[in-house]
Amino acid sequence: MLKCKGLVALSSDLLDGELTWKQRIAVRAHLAMCVRCRRFIRQLRISQRVIRQLPDQQAPDLEALLKAMQAQQQRGAETDQGNAQK
């Protein structure tokens, strides 16, 4: 029989759909009768969504990066022209 501790050990695999069918049956059976583990899984899913929605830290210096990319792109365009004239 799967115990709560074992269920917690499988919880991440449950979220990622990585359980074998045997494990899946055991997890389902356990969750059907264990309110504490149901709460744990529900709140684990909430914390997953919290991380998804946690605001991103901004890129260090977007403007400088874009400038460098533009310069790179123009160098590329000049090389292409140079090649075309050969």
Binding site: S12, S47, R52, Q53, A59, M69
Partner: protein, 201 residues
């Protein structure tokens, strides 16, 4: 994806707004990959070099892979070529966050919960994130995870990458990715639980 094709056409024409869009959309994922491989000290440099490589190679991007996969592969390659020394061993050392994790101490000898999870006051991530103190607390927890652990978590949860993609980009085994992800999630869970119980970090 039609939007992706459209974006690539605009990039090829050299449209600056398109570059801005591209960077804003993918910078976070690229950073997570770079941090996982070279560590945060040189990650920004790797990301910058990767973007320049993207610009150089855009003509040759044939759309065989998704744009995101292509960008992250360039980032991973740039990061790996920067590693002068042998690749650091994948550390599976258990670094749990400041609020611990869900470990053996939470269970009774018979394997049932000893101290069961407490009920949170809301099911809504938005409501939870409304609190600035909690957002800062989560940032703090993420910062204390190992760089690899944090990157795997962000690539999976925020960037929605599949596990095999994470394995390929970071050169770590499927089972190691699962271990890293599991521990990171439990640290985040423990942080939220602690905050719900005490109202502070």
């Amino acid at each position: 994806m039609p939007n992706e094709q459209d974006l690539i056409q605009r990039l090829l024409k050299g449209e600056q707004a398109a570059y801005r869009e591209l960077v804003q959309q993918y910078q976070g994922a690229m950073r997570a990959v770079a941090i996982a491989i070279v560590g945060s000290a040189s990650a920004d440099e790797v990301v910058q070099d990767s973007w320049l490589a993207v610009v150089r190679n855009l003509q040759g991007f044939a759309g065989r892979a998704s744009l995101k996969t292509w960008l992250l592969t360039i980032t991973a390659n740039t990061a790996k070529s920067r590693l002068r020394k042998q690749r650091r061993d994948v550390s599976l050392e258990d670094v749990s966050g400041p609020h611990g994790t869900i470990d053996d101490a939470r269970f009774a000898a018979d394997g049932h919960w000893g101290r069961a999870p407490t009920l949170w006051h809301t099911d809504s991530p938005e409501a939870l994130l409304n609190e600035q103190a909690l957002r800062e607390c989560l940032e703090h927890t993420l910062a204390t995870l190992s760089e690899l652990q944090r990157s795997v978590l962000l690539l999976r949860e925020r960037q929605a990458l599949e596990l095999p993609d994470i394995c390929n980009l970071l050169d770590i085994s499927h089972s190691n990715v699962r271990v890293l992800l599991h521990r990171a999630r439990l640290s985040v869970f423990a942080t939220l639980e602690h905050f719900e119980e005490t109202g502070e970090c």
